[in-house]
Amino acid sequence: MTHLLLALAALAPSGDAGDDLILFKAPVQLMAGDAELGRRKMYPSPAAFDVDGDGMQDLVLGGLSGRVTWSRRTAAGLGPEVPMERTDGKQLSFNNW
């Protein structure tokens, strides 16, 4: 495990109590169908949201380009990453410069 989970008080933001690291288990990479989730994004940013209204929190992915995709969550896992559509059928995309 080369990505160490460290509480580094000296490097922490201003005001950090420093010694109260809350631990998580080793990370598991999420797959979207057969593909790696977020692999085609620059700076993928996930947000949980029930896109299709089925009661399951899906994952919506933003990124540097502003173009939004999502992956449907089912009991079997996450489905393929697809463009998130606006009401006019175009891909939801936030302006970047």
Partner: protein, 332 residues
């Protein structure tokens, strides 16, 4: 860009709030049929919300303004994330903007109503533990979540990565009373530090964008984190013949790069000379097309030669890779 699904205008439909590197928050207004085309959020005066540094679409340039800063002075601080919460407990949603540079948070109060927000246009620096929040590792995006299950919203944010190469995810517990918000000093949820390169992606090492959710439904909050891994495939052990071949490839690659540079310089020299003679933008464009057409085959050929040699080198000496992905961190 971060993302928040929140009913910004109290119409009963969740809206999609985000901000991008253009420096301003945007909303994709939600309705019965889904989300509309995103639009920039404006303050009560009709000005776009921002921190200070922003992309001006009319000027086609990055500019700074002090009009929303607490001291009125422009600073190189670009708001690239936004979340909405009822900061002061008055029943409407106020806005928090996070800056990429320095990792500040700025509050803009809503002096309108839940259904007709009127943001003041004036940013107030958010404090954490009695001091202004600042993070030299640059803030990716804040998220709001009731981390300690006490009925109010706490804030979690990630960082891109500091000078030491480490990045993290931090928690600001809301200690406010009576509906008002007051954040405690940051607590470290996660620190990642790629001290040595693994031979495959093992986790995010920079650009940490967090989501906080009980993903495995076991009753505690987990993290879903987008970010970049740094890794390097295992290098093969080379015999003498392969070592010699690698040296030959490196020499050939160096020569190919020199040749590509020569072609590129010749192209620039000729184009600059032709461009200097052009009097109009159309003539400049025509000059570019003419010179580019003359050089394109040589430019492509030299670049291709470099690329192919590099691919052969990479077999013997794998390069460091930086790949994006999304990771699940289960709470221990």
């Amino acid at each position: 860009m971060g993302s928040q699904f929140v009913d910004l205008n109290a119409d009963g439909h969740l809206d999609y709030l985000s901000a991008t590197f253009d420096g301003s928050p945007h909303a994709s207004w939600g309705g019965a049929d889904g989300f509309a085309e995103p639009a920039r959020i404006e303050d009560a005066a009709g000005e776009r919300l921002l921190v200070s540094y922003y992309w001006d679409y009319d000027e086609d340039a990055h500019l700074t303004t002090g009009r929303s800063m607490p001291d009125g002075k422009p600073r190189n601080l670009r708001g690239i994330s936004a979340v909405a919460m009822d900061w002061d407990g008055d029943g409407d949603l106020d806005l928090l903007q996070g800056s990429y540079e320095k990792g500040h948070l700025y509050l803009q109060l809503n002096e309108g109503s839940p259904s007709e927000p009127r943001f003041t246009g004036k940013n107030v620096r958010v404090m954490a533990g009695g001091v202004p929040l600042e993070d030299e590792a640059k803030m990716t995006a804040p998220r709001l979540v009731d981390w300690d299950a006490d009925g109010d919203l706490d804030l979690v944010y990630g960082t891109f990565g500091g000078a030491d190469g480490g990045a993290g995810i931090y928690l600001l517990v809301n200690q406010g009373k009576g509906g008002a918000t007051s954040f405690a000093a940051p607590r470290t949820l996660l620190r990642v530090h790629g001290e040595s390169l693994p031979t495959s992606p093992t986790g995010p090492a920079e650009g940490l964008y967090p989501e906080v959710i009980d993903w495995d439904k076991d009753g505690d909050l987990d993290l879903i984190v987008g970010g970049y891994s740094r890794w390097r495939a295992e290098a093969p052990t080379l015999n003498d013949e392969e070592t010699a071949e690698l040296a030959r490839l490196r020499a050939a690659h160096e020569a190919a790069e020199a040749a590509a540079d020569e072609v590129s310089k010749a192209f620039n020299k000729k184009f600059n000379a032709e461009e200097a003679k052009a009097k109009t933008e159309e003539e400049k464009e025509a000059a570019f097309n003419r010179v580019y057409g003359e050089f394109v085959d040589r430019l492509d050929a030299t670049r291709k030669a470099c690329r192919e040699l590099q691919q052969k080198i990479d077999v013997f000496d794998p390069p460091t890779k930086r790949t994006p992905a999304v990771w699940f961190f289960e709470r221990a």
